[in-house]
Symmetry: C2
Subunit: 307 residues, 2 copies
């Protein structure tokens, strides 16, 4: 479930997405009407395989809490306060439902079907509109005391004079290492630079991370510098994350990871530079190998195996 | 085991330290001679209860690795390279031996006998000559992929222009929030300040954290400012640690924690200020309630219950 769309699908026990569909998340101000539409659409898919063959429903949602099954104060969703989402789903569908936040679901998906298969210790970082994270220790997602562990998009990456974050604080990693963060970096850097750049052709408040990527792929030096800056800040933070849980790998997923080496090289360089000697050269940084279109559905569905 | 002394004891299943002893760590350049002396001294204690009543030996040592039972490149120990300490102990004593680093041992002790009893999620921070940490998630110490997880003294607290750390990098939390760090802060602040202070009576390169504490207890404003500065940096880092594992509590232990409210107040103030709204007011900051003289022995011994 995202702020705009909800994508759903039927996944078999080998991680094949058998069928898929989607509805708009944002059109229903009433959660019950949303559940009604979801039920109506998803039931069509369920009927094709038979309800008796559905082991459970897994949901990845912003601010989803694994312990309670509730969605709490999600700024990008139309429903305010605390939504008892797992219970509403279980009641409506008559199928057991597990819920977690989208980045935790991505981590479970990566561990079950993706590049982290067989790993017991890794950190998933989702680089989308925001920055999310799912931390796996001893083969299990870390939920913490309250179910909200792993909000690494909100560690303070720039302590003094950092950028304003949607969470109300300043300097959060998310304000630098997300697609939005890249756009903000582009605006800041373009204001200052006198170097020639393709990005001068775009009005400052319209530049997107996609524009920066396209320019960088054409060899634009300023665009590359923007990715270098982004990768440096993310790499520095990753070094601190390693200090915490000593993972085998960091797995990157989401829009920004499409930038490939443009972002990977500075990430690895600055992570290595900032790590304790004992970890240098030993922690892999990997891109997810799941198809982005399927990854959300796969991740959420994999929650069901943990039920 | 510390760089200077090794303290050992017999602990019963209720956490009573039945007897204690110590030898010098630093006098034996040869690890085998150290083990010989330890065997000779510890055997006296073992004989008083009978070897058949000893379930195991637990060791907390700098750079101790739980998985391998080895001590790796510990800068403050006389033995270089990789020491197969648990194996050497098991062979010598004929008793199974478990080893971990000192801060992890402290966390196990706190969970088994101390203020974290019954907690499933907490972070132990040891504020001694350096800063160590032991992270507990789901009731288990986090060792990570390689056994070295939880080196939170080496997250970068001050990103640009931070203090030189013994690890070779700059700005580590340990260079600010340890006893040594407080002394360094005192030197820096005393150089700059024109305010009256008892600390002016001590030559700059001789000031210790104890001097700062004594002055602060006499109401010295500059000394209080030094603790305020220390607590601010630690509190900011703790807020980031909460983002990672969402613990029920942070438990502080070691020399600096004797400063009580002088250090606790700024820690809590700046941790609260820097946390995401969802955690504000919900994460306890507690001092260990174990007697410092016993805590190291209790923590190490508690490892045996996990064997």
């Amino acid at each position: 479930m995202g702020g705009t769309n909800t994508v759903f699908g039927i996944v078999d026990n080998e991680g094949q997405v058998l069928s898929k569909g989607s509805i708009k998340t944002s059109t229903h101000a009433d959660i019950n009407l949303y559940i009604d539409e979801l039920h109506s659409e998803l039931s069509k898919l369920i009927d094709t395989v038979g309800k008796e063959n559905i082991k459970g429903i897994g949901v990845g949602a912003p601010n989803g809490n694994y312990y309670s099954g509730n969605i709490l104060f999600a700024p990008n969703l139309p429903w305010k306060g605390e939504i008892h989402f797992a219970k509403l789903m279980t009641d409506k569908f008559g199928i057991p439902t597990a819920l977690t936040n989208d980045a935790n679901a991505a981590a479970v998906g990566e561990m079950t079907y993706g590049v982290a298969m067989g790993m017991k210790h890794f950190i998933m970082i989702t680089l989308g509109t925001g920055v999310g994270s799912g931390i796996v220790i001893d083969g299990k997602v870390v939920y913490g005391h309250d179910g909200f562990a792993g909000e690494l998009g909100h560690v303070i990456a720039v302590r003094d004079g950092g950028r304003m974050c949607g969470c109300g604080r300043e300097g959060c990693l998310e304000t630098y290492a997300s697609a939005t963060g890249v756009a903000r970096s582009a605006q800041e850097i373009m204001k200052m630079t006198t170097k020639p750049s393709l990005l001068h052709n775009i009005s400052l408040d319209k530049i997107t991370s996609k524009d920066v990527f396209d320019a960088a792929m054409c060899g634009d030096e300023v665009a590359k510098e923007i990715f270098e800056f982004t990768g440096k800040i993310l790499g520095e933070c990753l070094a601190d994350f390693v200090t915490f849980s000593a993972p085998e790998a960091i797995v990157l997923f989401g829009g920004l990871s499409k930038a490939g080496d443009l972002i990977l090289k500075p990430i690895v360089e600055h992570m290595e530079k900032n790590m304790l000697d004992l970890w240098k050269g030993k922690v892999k940084v990997l891109f997810s190998n799941l198809k982005e279109a399927d990854a959300a559905v796969l991740g959420a569905s994999a929650l069901v195996w943990e039920m």
